[in-house]
Amino acid sequence: MTLPTVDFLLVSALLFAIGAVGVLVRKNPLIMFMAIELMWNAVNLSLVAFARQFGAVSGHIFVFVVVVAAAAEVAIGLIIIVLVFRHRDRPDVDTLNAMKG
């Protein structure tokens, strides 16, 4: 019983699209960050699907490295969000207008 790889790639593409919409539309930095995590994992799903398709364990190794990079990114990103928004009354990227952009 094997499921077609294309179906997993479809789910992966839709998940990535949902994450991209989240980053473009939302103003809350935490929600934007979670949408980025969504996109990381969409790519992970397609990597695992291709690893299954071609019987290559290198795809699994790549996903492992991506998970490590994502964990590091979350640690650094969250501390930056905390430092930037700790003294503001609401977490909203629109309040970051110090450069009059």
Partner: protein
């Protein structure tokens, strides 16, 4: 049976993804993202990536999302109500974002529908995706990338400690 589980997991993933990006309260977004990762873990299992499914649930749904929970609790504590924490979007921002991403998604779906080169995947060897298979590859062929991930994590640790120090 596997088909049914795959469809259920995929629907769970996509629905929870929508919940994440539309959540008014970031706390609800974190919970939905955990459910999304569990669904992804099920999909990984169906793709014979057993070790990665475990990693996905333990590292992502466990460790990373706990970090998220702490920061959400810390940041949202000062705001009066989570609903107030939303400001107006630019005119046409939502429509434009959905249009742009919709074009991307349509292109991918079109490519997947047209591209029929991928044959049905061959039945995996019994050890494919197991911890022994994964570990053998990680510690022999991919030893250098594995060592370099340690450097990435070290850089992250030093960066966080530097940023969080007392001023």
């Amino acid at each position: 049976m596997a088909n049914l589980i795959a469809v259920l997991a995929a629907v769970l993933c996509l629905f929870m993804g929508v919940v994440v990006v539309s959540a008014k309260n970031p706390m609800h977004g974190v919970i939905a993202l955990v459910a999304n990762f569990v669904g992804l873990g099920v999909l990984f299992l169906l793709l014979h990536a057993e070790f990665l499914a475990v990693i996905e649930v333990i590292v992502y749904a466990g460790a990373v999302m706990v970090l998220f929970l702490f920061v959400v609790a810390l940041l949202m504590a000062g705001t009066r109500s989570p609903q107030e924490a939303r400001s107006k979007t630019l005119p046409g921002q939502v429509a434009l974002a959905i249009a742009v991403v919709g074009v991307f998604a349509a292109l991918v779906v079109f490519a997947l529908a047209v591209h029929t080169v991928l044959a049905a995947p061959p039945p995996p060897t019994t050890s494919f995706g197991s911890i022994s298979n994964f570990g053998t590859a990680l510690f022999t062929t991919y030893l250098l990338p594995f060592e370099l991930t340690a450097l990435v994590l070290l850089a992250a640790v030093i960066g966080v400690v530097f940023l969080a120090r007392e001023r």
